[in-house]
Subunit: 302 residues, 2 copies
């Protein structure tokens, strides 16, 4: 069974009824399944994640936008988190029996449909965007909703689909395909945050480390230790075990041990199994060797 995950970020995190009304668009769509909905009142933002396939998702997403645009007016919106749209970001993630290439094509179809239906500018990002400077969400969002009319006058910021002016109340939306994100933190047995920072710098792509790793050093006050806090944006390119071994190697230089690690949110089974495969040196590893995968396949296709 094909499964694509979407993790939509909306600019409403205070009115629970509105968030529920919008998220219910997923529940009401046959073949779509709501995974999680979490709201942050300070950010005034909610993240709604759900799964479906290329047939069911367009129906849910269209209804989702209809409800969000009906309820959210960015002209009255305040919150700590940067945003350009009532529906701010719509990522699509390949989970099962669908390629990244197929999800890229699918995300473009969705973008085009949304632009037409709601007269809304759509910016493609990540894997769905060919122009290097427009792949990055932070750059697309720079200036936020308030600066969007000015920003979009520059032909560089012409949207991929839809009008070249922002929607009056809903701004613009960023749509694209990306790999599942893994939030992975490694704890170091020292109080010295300089060491965490030095290791973060060594391992992150932006300063010459592993390309698909973002990293920061932070202090864990209540445990009196420090942490390398990371986002692994593509665990196929920069796998979790390689990240871990690189941190171990860098930490050794300072005589500092790794005392633990943590996964924030969800992690794909494959990322963990590849770590087991690496450490146990399994020569013949394949997802089909996993009992639960075999059982799920058999039940699904019966």
């Amino acid at each position: 069974m094909e499964i694509i995950e979407s993790i939509i970020n909306i600019s409403e995190g205070r009115d629970n009824e509105t968030v529920k009304y919008i998220a219910d668009s997923v529940k009401n769509t046959s073949g779509c399944f709501l995974l999680d909905s979490s709201s942050d009142p300070d950010h005034n933002r909610s993240v709604i994640s759900f799964v479906g396939n290329r047939k069911s998702l367009p129906i849910a997403v269209q209804e989702f936008f209809k409800r969000a645009l009906e309820k959210i007016d960015l002209r009255k919106h305040h919150g700590e988190h940067p945003r350009i749209g009532a529906v701010d970001v719509v990522p699509f993630v390949p989970i099962r029996e669908v390629t990244m290439q197929e999800v890229v094509a699918f995300s473009k179809e969705i973008g085009e449909m949304l632009a037409k239906t709601f007269n809304l500018p759509i910016f493609l990002y990540e894997e769905s965007q060919k122009i290097a400077e427009r792949k990055n969400l932070a750059l697309i969002r720079k200036g936020e909703f308030e600066n969007l009319p000015e920003k979009m006058k520059d032909p560089v910021w012409r949207p991929d689909f839809g009008p070249s002016l922002p929607h009056p109340s809903a701004g613009a939306t960023v749509v694209g395909a990306r790999m599942p994100l893994i939030a992975f933190n490694v704890n170091l047995g020292t109080k010295d945050v300089n060491i965490a920072n030095a290791i973060a710098k060594a391992i992150r792509g932006s300063s010459g480390g592993l390309a698909a790793v973002k990293a920061l050093g932070i202090v864990l006050q209540n445990r009196e230790i420090v942490q390398v806090s990371m986002n692994l944006v593509d665990y196929k390119k920069s796998p979790i075990f390689r990240v871990f071994e690189m941190i171990r190697s860098e930490a050794k230089r300072y005589g500092v041990p790794i005392v633990g690690s943590e996964i924030i949110g969800l992690i794909p089974q494959e990322a963990l199994c590849e770590a087991a495969e690496f450490y146990l040196k399994i020569e013949n590893f394949a997802p089909s060797l996993i009992l639960e995968n075999k059982i799920n396949d058999v039940i699904r296709f019966s």
Copy 2:
């Protein structure tokens, strides 16, 4: 959704039509799903694995026995593999949302039902058997079908359910709950099988090593290396990463490297994830952190 796996061994591995006829009893039962059927003509034996729950499995198993006892006559059976029954062994393995304790109770109900329905002696084994000397399959099967009338005269070998004489054509059947078995082999960078044997002896439970590990040293002729070939009979008690690290430690003594490993058959997701958890030192690990588990749960309960 509750899932129990059964891996039934029958004494027929040459007549494919008969094996198919028997295995089809699973396919014809709603709520049961055939995973695999594999036959060995030399052993004249087939292994049929399938999943279901406590409602669907009794229906499939009863029909399975009806067909097997109709077709298989042990008085005419020859094969290399030891056996005491037309249906020789019926293990039940807890896979999902069911405890070992519940599967033990279930296996006894099945044993009682089979004894009554087919007038067949049933020996409980593994987790379902309290008497230590009768837990072991090899001991129950010692003497095989041909010696069963003599063996069962001894009150020590009175069956747990059913008549105290073997079934004329079907002998007796061994039924019980057990953990999933992991067949795991570790390859060593040496030609010296004595080293593989010494390590196997060090790590296996029977000679003082890890309790739930069976191990043998063997030669891999075509690769000119040796292997520690293992069955992990309870990966919760003797986890795969501890087995691997113990082999690494023993091999070091001989200056021999581990060059690889292999999984034969299927491995539970949990066994691999626990290895990742161990090596990556994940502090907050739980199966619910795995994206696919979350998705499966949501889809299942919708």
